[in-house]
């Protein structure tokens, strides 16, 4: 027995590998044939190799539940890759660069002259209500005026094949380590395919990240002290924090390792005593960074950190306050933002978005709740959202109330027919919905990962891809077609 593509039916959705029932896309032919040529048993063995590698390499993510506290779970990887031809990827990459460039100009403007508000492109009341706007950051100029050094943007593909940006994560986007680890596992699982395909490598991310961080150092030295600041071992992304520190060869620190001295410089407590820190890649949210400036009760942060940053004695990536541009209401203005700062049309489209703050758009949303996805402006990880077509009547009514009470906090989008990729389910292959999170680094220049992290909703028909809610992942292959 082996796999048969004739039974694989993506239905009305765009499938990333199959053109129609039984017919692979041009670039997926080799893969489809490879899978057919190997018996079920052989594929099961490969699956087992992947699972064992993940267990032994200790690739984990942490889930927190009321009953069991925090548990370290093995990372879920489906061994069937998602493929994108390079010719299709190149314009996406251009679109992402354009977007992040404009967003950085926007953030810098917001914390200085606010020209975009004065020119009536961006409504002032949105800023007044933004939970991610930090008044403490007004007037600060971080190195090169860049605020969001690391960005993770979520892309989805609709039934007609169009790739949309779903959201931008400008605070502490995570997932890049899983992209890198997925690739190293896949090389163990399918070495033959790596020989027959010309797959663009992803391995240089960590050295690019380090170079970018080092370039932010306030002291022009050959070896700036760069550290990764983690909330600690119980954070869901702790694996990633440790991974990135290890790959960059820098210290992984917790708040208690750091101290801000009387000279307003940041030091870490080492075996020898105190040692100066130049650049902090922080993986702690703004409000927990510094109990002196923000949340007084934060045990994770470093008292005085913001003071040191304002004086320019230490660089923080991403800069505090960068999140002002990642709330979902700002998202709706990105095409206008790109036009305003760059004078260009948006290359990579937004999902059509209804802003509940405008009465006409709100009316449309309230009248069409059953067809829309409603999202709060400032939640991540898929929490607090409502998916209209599957929500109960009661849930829809609850959201209608929420929207009327706080319209500025909600946006709505049509439910997209998220594209699918063949995925191993039990003993067969079925279509499952995916998204894609590329990572964009901004320093001297802007660079984008080759592909990104493909997340897959493992439950049939589900659109929720977050690993904290039962999602899995796939390796993403950007392939040269004529190879």
């Amino acid at each position: 027995m082996s796999l048969s593509w004739n039974e694989y039916d993506p239905g009305k959705f765009f499938d990333e590998l199959m053109q129609s029932k039984g017919k692979p896309r041009k670039y997926a032919k080799n893969l489809a044939k490879f899978l057919v040529d190997h018996s079920d048993q052989e594929l099961e063995t490969r699956k087992a190799v992947a699972e064992l590698s993940i267990k032994e390499m200790g690739i984990t993510f942490t889930v927190y539940t009321e009953e069991e506290g925090s548990i370290d779970r093995s990372w879920p990887l489906d061994i069937l890759p998602r493929m994108i031809p390079k010719s299709e990827w190149d314009p996406i990459e251009q679109g992402l660069k354009q977007r992040v460039h404009a967003l950085n100009l926007f953030i810098d403007d917001i914390y200085h002259d606010q020209k975009i508000i004065k020119d009536k492109i961006f409504p002032a009341e949105l800023l007044a209500n933004s939970v991610n706007f930090r008044k403490e950051c007004v007037g600060i100029s971080p190195p090169r005026n860049i605020w969001a050094h690391i960005c993770g943007s979520d892309l989805v593909r609709d039934s007609d094949g169009t790739m949309y940006v779903l959201e931008d994560n400008l605070r502490v986007p995570s997932g890049v380590s899983y992209m890198l680890e997925n690739r190293s596992v896949m090389k163990r699982v399918f070495p033959e395919l790596f020989e027959s395909y010309n797959i663009q490598p992803v391995d240089d991310y960590c050295s690019q990240l380090f170079d970018m961080l080092a370039s932010l150092s306030p002291r022009p030295a050959d070896y700036p002290e760069v550290v990764v600041l983690t909330p600690g071992i119980f954070n869901s992304a702790y694996f990633e924090h440790a991974y990135l520190a290890q790959q960059m060869g820098c210290e992984l620190v917790e708040g208690r390792d750091l101290v801000v001295s009387d000279d307003d410089c940041v030091y870490m407590r080492t075996v020898e005593g105190l040692q100066r820190v130049d650049v902090i890649y922080r993986r702690i949210d703004d409000l927990f960074l510094d109990p002196e400036a923000f949340d007084k009760k934060s045990m994770l942060g470093v008292p005085g950190l913001l003071r040191a940053w304002k004086k320019g004695n230490v660089a923080l990536a991403n800069a505090p306050g960068a999140g002002v541009a990642d709330d979902k209401v700002v998202y709706a203005f990105v095409p206008e933002i790109i036009k305003y700062y760059l004078g260009e049309d948006v290359l990579l489209p937004n999902v059509p978005t209804y802003r509940c703050m405008y009465q006409d758009e709100q009316d449309y949303v309230l009248n069409n709740l059953a067809d829309l996805v409603v999202k709060p402006a400032n939640e991540s990880g898929g929490y607090g959202m409502m998916i209209g077509p599957v929500a109960s009547k009661k849930e829809r009514e609850k959201f209608a109330q929420l929207i009327k009470k706080d319209p500025r906090n909600y946006i709505a989008q049509p439910t997209l027919g998220l594209s699918t990729v063949p995925t191993f389910i039990d003993h067969g292959v079925e279509p499952r919905h995916v998204d894609l999170r590329p990572f964009i680094l901004s320093g001297d220049s802007i660079s984008v990962t080759m592909g990104g992290l493909t997340r897959v909703a493992l439950r049939k028909g589900s659109l929720v891809v977050n690993s904290s809610q039962g999602g899995g992942s796939k390796d993403t292959w950007i392939v040269e077609e004529d190879a």
């Binding site: 032994e56 440790a242 290890q246 992984l252 390792d257 080492t270």
Partner: protein, 320 residues
């Protein structure tokens, strides 16, 4: 090196070493029980005293039968001395510093923890126990070798060695103690013929039998065995050897004077002991004394180098 990382590496190495030596400790007692005439057998209870956790044990258990003690020493996640618990903490510590140890070492520590958990059924059967414990010992040795062959000789490695050697001296002393606990009266005529066999099994459980033969070129004799295990300058599990390792390590660290003074105190105690004159009771007291010295060395390290010590010093300063 970060004070917290130094501390974590030190504890990672201690827990690894503790798991390995707990396996050795159980093996030596199992062998002793097989060798001693049945009616004089003291069973498994002495092991609980040797771990120094009798209070905790009796709160959780109402007998000292083999199965109960085995569960407490091997699998019980709530037991502070069980192999499962030590390996869990070794892994948790390794996880916290997985950015500084070689990836292969982390994978091995992680895999050992999985093995130890997955094979618990085997461990609890009489037949499977020996191979289980041996596997734990062997895998620990592999990790020690892997670290030794792949880690930069920097401060991190010094703290790994400090942790390993302090735990090893402490546990070696406890393993020797099993022998003294199992023989309450030296003069017991009945046991005399078995005396040498028992010391041989202590040596074997420390993988020391061949080395003893080569180094001492002597029969198995209590006084020589004790001298070898406490005072050998060459055998890497002897207590003096471990203390000398610590002596060397600490001098490569900054501001080592306090800690070195403590280490020298322990060294003098070991070198000065006239072991051949000690009866079992004296030997037992001497072992207690060594364990206290090890504690002092730990305290000195904590005050000088570790984040726990730094922060508590800072808090005391602020309070006064």
């Amino acid at each position: 090196m970060l004070a917290r990382v130094a501390e974590t590496l030190y504890w990672m190495a201690r827990y690894m070493e503790r798991a390995e030596n707990m396996a050795r400790l159980i093996n030596v007692n199992a062998n002793l029980i097989l060798d001693i005439p049945k009616k004089t057998v003291l069973g498994w209870e002495p092991l609980i005293d040797i771990t120094g956790t009798r209070d905790i044990y009796v709160k959780r258990n109402d007998n000292f039968e083999e199965r109960t003690v085995m569960k407490y020493l091997i699998s019980d996640p709530e037991s502070p001395v069980s192999i499962a618990n030590s390996l869990k903490w070794a892994r948790e510590n390794a996880r916290t510093v997985r950015d500084v140890i070689p990836r292969e070492a982390w994978e091995q520590i992680n895999a050992l923890n999985h093995y130890a958990k997955d094979q618990l059924n085997v461990a609890m059967s009489k037949r499977g126990r020996f191979s289980y414990l041996n596997e734990v010992i062997l895998r620990n040795q592999t990790i020690v070798g892997l670290l030794s062959g792949t880690v930069n000789r920097d401060q991190g490695y010094l703290f790994i060695r400090m942790g390993r050697n302090i735990e090893r001296s402490d546990m070696t002393s406890r393993i020797i103690d099993v022998r003294s606990a199992n023989l309450l009266t030296e003069e017991s005529m009945e046991l005399r013929p078995f005396e040498n066999i028992q010391w041989m099994s202590v040596l074997k459980s420390l993988t020391a039998y061949q080395m003893y033969r080569q180094a001492m070129q002597a029969r198995i004799r209590r006084s020589d065995v004790v001298k070898f295990l406490f005072q050998s300058q060459r055998f890497p599990r002897s207590i003096l050897f471990c203390v000398q390792q610590m002596e060397r390590c600490v001098q490569e660290l900054p501001d080592y004077e306090n800690t070195l003074r403590r280490i020298h105190q322990a060294k003098r105690l070991i070198q000065g002991a006239e072991l051949q004159a000690y009866d079992q009771v004296m030997l037992h007291d001497f072992i207690d004394h060594i364990q206290i010295e090890m504690n002092h060395i730990h305290e000195a390290l904590n005050e000088q180098y570790f984040l726990t010590g730094r922060i508590s010093a800072q808090q005391q300063q602020q309070a006064s």
